[in-house]
């Protein structure tokens, strides 16, 4: 283990030395310092950067996916217990407020309504929808 670590260090050092040993006035290529990606990813295809309503849609889709993953019986609603088992502590902590009807289960739409309400409370009427 120690030897491996040592070897890694030596390898890392020799890589750094090799890159430093440029010829002439060619500046050395810095080691892959933060932030950095491998060469093969430097031509990743352009993907649109969502903002505004499209971004909000992405964010909600992300939350909906976590909700669906927790909904093991796929009935479109979570009980407190289902939420707890899935690690959805946020749903557990706010269960009573999300389940305003007191039905013992919450749908994703309930969750969305609750999030919108809280957004309005926190950010005022100008809050993004």
């Amino acid at each position: 283990m120690m030897n491996k670590l040592l070897l890694m260090t030596i390898l890392a050092l020799s890589t750094a030395t090799a890159s430093a040993a440029g010829n002439g006035n060619e500046p050395p290529v810095p080691a892959c310092a933060d932030p950095c990606v491998p060469q093969r990813l430097r031509h990743a295809p352009a993907t649109p950067a969502a903002s505004g309503a499209a971004l909000q849609q992405q964010a909600v889709a992300k939350l909906r996916q976590r909700f669906s993953e927790a909904d093991l019986d796929a009935n479109g609603a979570l009980t407190r217990d289902e939420a707890r088992k899935a690690g959805l502590g946020w749903v557990v902590n706010h269960f009573a407020e999300i389940d305003s009807a007191g039905s013992g289960k919450v749908t994703f739409e309930d969750m969305r309504r609750y999030m919108a309400k809280r957004r309005k409370q926190a950010l005022g009427p100008a809050a993004p929808q």
Partner: protein, 524 residues
């Protein structure tokens, strides 16, 4: 042995730690690695009377390394410091906590150093989690450079290579407003996966953030910090990690009161030094700020903030249009565009005519003839071939060796923690890292931050960037965050500094002032 501090009481009595580690040792715990048959038997870590810990474990940053089991012991050292004329007694806790994924059971032993003010109710103070990025970097830069009780005095932006240094009391420590926890990513520092997981299982955008979530949850539970406002403070790659962590922690029911995005790269897809086919519009104001530093902007701006505002606007309109045509069809810009860019930045018009999407590597090499500018801080420069330019980034070279050696002596000498292996300050794992996230080859974490804000609309966001950082340009961070829409909880602050803003004394003071305001604004 009895320690009156609430921290020690809530953390765990040392005796229990000894018992616990004996039990775990009986299960054959210890440093392990792939195909490693020479793992030494674990000896119970002695928790000495002076609080020191000689951890017998050999930690490894190898991709396949895996601890057979993990103990949660720590060295505990008392200290005092004076901040704003007020004496603060504090405890430094240095050791490991095991972060375990509640659903999968996957676990890692995270190495951390916590500084907590003594005699306070645990829930009454914020607790802040700091980490660098890389990926592959230990958190030593933030730990020894920024807001911990002690810091290394650097001479940035001087190009003198810093010699051997000892950390000194830090007048800008954040200990007056928050308890501070510095934690290392798996495979860096002394953090390592626990069997059956291996280090490499954590080496991806999502796996890594989930591991950090598990550490934060474990720290909160072990130290009774449920009531404390929680702040995440990530630098560079640590910032996109923060976006994802915020979303994961909120989902899991751990409220995140605030996030500090330090020299952020929230969207790898928008940075033209990461992906060369993207517009460099996010960089033009950095070029202008740096050209102005070298007195190359013409005419010399009377007022720098309004100058940079003008350059931002130009970058987002005329330059964006022109570079779009250049990238899509190699259409040369109007001569006036190259001329204007020359006046703003000092980069010759002929260079803009040759490549309108002018990247930061060329800028660092060409702006000042005979000088290579630093990538992390373009104010630090050196002649190609000189020692300070030998590693390709003079601004990293001036501090790298000093930090590297100081962290090791500081851990053993001041914090009284030693392990049977060397602290891994940087692990070159870029090629192994899984960068994909949400269907993109490289991560865009603005949607994660948006999801976190959906779950907690009171979450405060503070982005801090350096005007002279050629790695994560400040204007690109502004553009990335603008995608979130108007939100009074999102604040952007920029400083005359580099990537590690805090290495500059004046910038660090300004950062501290803004951070104090930020902490004052936090909800629970």
């Amino acid at each position: 042995m009895a320690r009156p501090s609430p921290l020690t009481n809530t953390l765990r009595p040392p005796l229990l730690a000894v018992l616990l580690s004996s039990l775990l040792a009986a299960c054959g715990g210890g440093g392990g690695g792939s195909g490693n048959s020479t793992t030494p038997p674990v000896v119970t870590p002695p928790v000495a009377n002076d609080g020191s810990l000689n951890d017998p474990v050999i930690y490894s940053g190898n991709p396949t390394a895996s601890l057979a089991s993990a103990t949660e012991s720590a060295a505990i050292v008392k200290g005092t410091m004076v901040l704003n004329g007020q004496s603060i007694a504090y405890t430094s806790t240095t050791g490991h906590l095991t972060g375990t994924d509640a659903r999968t059971g996957r676990a890692a032993s995270f190495f951390y150093v916590a500084y907590t003010a003594d005699g306070k109710e645990p829930g009454s103070r914020p607790v802040t989690f700091f980490y660098n990025g890389g990926p592959g970097s230990a958190s030593m830069w933030l730990h020894l450079g920024s807001f911990a009780p002690k810091r290394i005095q650097s001479q940035v932006p001087s190009n003198v290579i810093l010699g051997s240094v000892t950390p000194v009391d830090n007048a800008e420590s954040l200990l007056d407003v928050s308890d501070l926890v510095f934690v290392d990513a798996v495979g860096t520092g002394y953090s390592q996966a626990v069997a059956p997981a291996r280090n490499r299982d954590y080496w991806g955008v999502d796996a890594d953030a989930a591991g950090f979530r598990d550490f934060v949850q474990r720290y909160v539970a072990a130290n009774n910090r449920q009531q404390s406002p929680k702040v995440l403070f990530g630098e560079s790659y640590g910032a996109p990690r923060t976006g994802i962590m915020a979303s994961l922690l909120e989902t899991a029911g751990t409220r995140v009161s605030g996030v500090v995005l330090h020299s952020a790269i929230m969207d790898y897809n928008s940075n033209c030094s990461v992906i060369s086919t993207r517009s460099c519009e996010g960089y033009i104001p950095t070029y202008a700020a740096t050209g102005n530093y070298y007195k190359l902007a013409s005419p010399a701006p009377a007022d720098v903030p309004s100058f940079l505002q003008e350059v931002r606007a130009y970058s987002a309109t005329t330059y964006r249009d022109a570079v779009g045509r250049w990238l899509s069809s190699n259409t040369l810009p109007q001569p006036g565009v190259a001329q204007q860019l020359f006046r703003y930045t000092g980069v010759l018009a002929s260079r803009w005519q040759t490549n309108l999407n002018y990247g930061p590597d060329a800028f660092a090499q060409e702006l000042v003839p005979g000088q290579l500018l630093g990538r992390y801080d373009a104010r630090v420069s050196g002649a190609p071939g000189s020692p300070v330019a030998a590693d390709g980034d003079p601004s990293l070279t001036v501090v790298n060796g000093a930090f590297d050696s100081a962290i090791r002596t500081y851990l053993t000498g001041t914090l009284k923690y030693s392990a049977a292996s060397t602290y891994v300050t940087f692990n070159n794992i870029i090629e192994t890292w899984n960068f994909s996230h949400d269907g993109k080859e490289v991560p865009d974490t603005i949607p994660d931050l948006a999801a976190a804000i959906n779950l907690n609309p009171s979450m405060k966001v503070l982005a801090q960037s350096g005007y002279h950082d050629l790695a994560t340009p400040f204007y690109q961070t502004e553009l990335d965050l603008q995608r979130l829409g108007a939100n009074p909880n999102i604040v952007v602050r920029n400083y005359a500094g580099g990537h590690m803003i805090y290495l500059d004394d004046a910038a660090r003071r300004a950062q501290k002032a803004d951070l104090v305001q930020f902490y004052g604004s936090l909800g629970k």
